[in-house]
Symmetry: C2
Subunit: 343 residues, 2 copies
C-alpha cells in the first residue's frame, strides 16, 4: 500500500511535533542529502504553460529512492479565492518502482524552503548573526522566521511588506514565538544593520526590492522570491558585489536572480560549500547571496523526513493486489461473471 498524508494530517502532525523541531530535522536531512549530491540523478523540471499559469513536475532519484513534486503557479488564483501555488509529491522505491508515499506539499514546500534557506545561511551568514530583515511577509514569512531562529539563532526579525495587512498577519502569527518583532516603515529601515536580509516577495516581474545603496558589507542576502524566468528581486548591481551560491546552476541561470547576469557570472553550488569543497563566506565583510529557486532534491529530502516523522497511517490502494501478475483481468473480473452485463 501507499501511505497518504493530506493537508489535514500534515496540519495535525505539525501541531503535534511543533514547527521548530520539524525544521531542525529537515535541515539535518537536507544537509546530509546535499552533501551526497553526486549520488543523485538530476533531471530538468517539466513545465506545461497556459495563459493563466504553469504546471510543473520535478523528479529526482538516487539509487534507492525516487521522488517527484507536482506544483502549479497561477498568479490569478487569488482573485478566485484560490491559492497561487498548490503542490503534492510522491516518494517511490527504485528497486520495485512502487509508490511509497503520496503527500500534500503546499505546507511541506514552505517548510523545506525555509529549512534550505537556513541551511545555506549556516555556511554563508556571519557567525553570531542575530537580526534578520524579512522583506515580503506572505505565505513563506513565518516559516523563514522560525527556521532562522531555530537553526541560526536569529532573535530579531524586522518585518516589511507593501501590504500592511500581510505584516499584521505575520506579526500576529509569530507573536509568542520568542523572536523580537519589529515592524519596519520601509525596506531601508528593515535592512539597516541587519545581519541577514531575506527577500520573499511575490512580484511577478523584474522588481527591485533591494537596491545597492541599502546593502551593507558583511550582510547575507537570502533571496527566495526571484524564482522563475522574468521574476527577480535584486538590482543587478548588487549581484556584482556578492559571493553568490545557488542550488543547481543550470536551473538558477534561467530562474534565479542571476538570470540578469551574463552566462559567465561566477556562482558556487551549495552542495560544494556544504562538503567543504568550495568556500562560502571568506571575509567578514563579504556580501554573500543565496539565490534560491527551489530544487527537486529539497523535495526528495523533505518527503523522506516526513515519511519518517509520520509513521504508519492512512493508505491509498494504488497497487493492484494480484496473485498472478499475468492475470490483471482476473484480478478485476471473477471468472464467468465478467460478461453478464457486457455480453
Amino acid at each position: 500500500m501507499t501511505r497518504y498524508i493530506g493537508t489535514g494530517e500534515m496540519a495535525d502532525l505539525l501541531r503535534r511535533e511543533g514547527a521548530e523541531p520539524i525544521l531542525r530535522r529537515l535541515v539535518a536531512g537536507l544537509r546530509s542529502d546535499f552533501r551526497r549530491w553526486p549520488d543523485f540523478d538530476l533531471a530538468p523540471r517539466l513545465a506545461n504553460h497556459s495563459a493563466g499559469g504553469v504546471i510543473e513536475l520535478m523528479p529526482i532519484a538516487d539509487a534507492r529512492s525516487y521522488s517527484f513534486k507536482f506544483v502549479n503557479g497561477h498568479p490569478g488564483n487569488t482573485r478566485l479565492g484560490k491559492q497561487t501555488v498548490v503542490a503534492f509529491g510522491v516518494l517511490a522505491d527504485m528497486a520495485t518502482g512502487y509508490p511509497l508515499l503520496v503527500s500534500e506539499m503546499t505546507v511541506l514546500t514552505a517548510l523545506r524552503t525555509a529549512a534550505t534557506s537556513a541551511l545555506a545561511a549556516s555556511v554563508l551568514a556571519r557567525p553570531g548573526s542575530r537580526s534578520m530583515a524579512l522583506i515580503g511577509t506572505g505565505a513563506q514569512a513565518e516559516f523563514q522566521a522560525l527556521a532562522f531562529k531555530t537553526v541560526i539563532g536569529i532573535d530579531e526579525i524586522r518585518l516589511f511588506d507593501v501590504d500592511p495587512a500581510a505584516v499584521a498577519k505575520a506579526r500576529a502569527n509569530l507573536d509568542g514565538c520568542g523572536l523580537r518583532l519589529v515592524c519596519a516603515g520601509s525596506v531601508a529601515e528593515a535592512v539597516a544593520g541587519a545581519d541577514i536580509v531575506t527577500t520573499a516577495t511575490a512580484d511577478k516581474a523584474r522588481a527591485t526590492i533591494l537596491t545597492p545603496d541599502l546593502v551593507e558589507p558583511g550582510q547575507h542576502l537570502n533571496a527566495i522570491g526571484g524564482d522563475c524566468p522574468g521574476k527577480t528581486e535584486l538590482h543587478a548591481d548588487i549581484l556584482r558585489r556578492t559571493r553568490t551560491v545557488v542550488e543547481y546552476e543550470p536551473q538558477t541561470r534561467i530562474e534565479g536572480e542571476i538570470q540578469q547576469m551574463p552566462a559567465d557570472y561566477p556562482v558556487t553550488e551549495l552542495w560544494r560549500v556544504l562538503r567543504g569543497e568550495a568556500s562560502g563566506r571568506v571575509a567578514a565583510d563579504d556580501i554573500t547571496l543565496f539565490d534560491s529557486v527551489g530544487f527537486a532534491l529539497e523535495d526528495f529530502s523533505a518527503l523522506h523526513c516526513l515519511r519518517q516523522i509520520a509513521g504508519a497511517g492512512p493508505d491509498l490502494d494504488l497497487i493492484p493486489d494480484m496473485s498472478d501478475p499475468k492475470d490483471l483481468f482476473g484480478s478485476v473480473f471473477s471468472r464467468g461473471a465478467a460478461f453478464e452485463r457486457a455480453a
Copy 2:
C-alpha cells in the same frame, strides 16, 4: 477537493459498468482527442533509470486540462511476487493548476491500450475483419480481445503463448464472452488466415515473434509488445512490407518496432489518419501495422473518460483550505498555540 479512484473502486466500477461498454466509451473519447491532436502541448516522457528498472512521468496538456501518468517498469518484480508495471495518474485544471483526480492506472492503462489498438484497427484493418491471432496472452490479452470484439466485430481469437498456463488463464477469463476461442499450437497456426495479428509479448529484448513468411497480404498487425529501447517483436523484413502507423513519431522512433529501421523509414501518425488527412489502408492486400508504444494523450483521454463514468466519490485533501492565501502558516497553526511546544 481532489477525487480519488483506487484499485478497489476501479474494479467495482468495471464490474458495475461492464468491460465492453467502458471500452466503447474509451474508444469514442480517444477518437475525439486524437482528432484534435494539434490542440495538445506534447512533452517528452521523463525517465529515471536504475539497475532494476525505470520510473517514468508522462505529462500532456491542452488549454483546459493537464494530465500525467507515473509508471514504472521493473522486469524483476515478478520474482518478488510483485508486478512489473504499476501506474497511477493525475488530471488537473489548467485554469487554476488544481489537481482534480488522482487515479490508479494499472488497469486503466490496459483498457486504454486495448481501446487505442481497436481504434487504430478501425481505420487500418480490412473491413469485415472477423478473426484475430493473439500472440502473448499476458496481462493485456483479455482487454485486447474484448476491445476488438466490441469495436471491430472480431468473433474468433486464436490464442498463443510460449507459457501454456498463460493461454489457459486467458481462455478461462474469456470463457462466456461470446468469442470463439482457439488455442493455437504455434504462432504460425494462430496467424494463418487471421485478419488481424496482435503481438503482446513481454520479451525484454530484440525478439522475433513474427517472421516475414508468416505474414499474409491484407493482414493488419497490431504490435503492442515492442515498447521500449531494445525491445521489439517483429522481424525487420516485415517492416519493409508494411504501411506503418504510429502514435507520436519522435517517441516511436526510439521505443517502437521501427527502432530497427533507418531514420527515414516512412510512418504516418494515427491522428492524421483519423482526421482523414492521411491514408491508412489503401488496398485490400496492403499489410498495415500499428506500431504502438503508448502515449500520454491516451492517458489524458482515459482519465477524462474515467472521471465522467465514476462521478462523485472519495476525495483527497491535497489542497489546503485557506481563507487568506497569504496565511499558510495560520492555516496550520492557530494563533498563539504554535509555539507552546516549540518554544
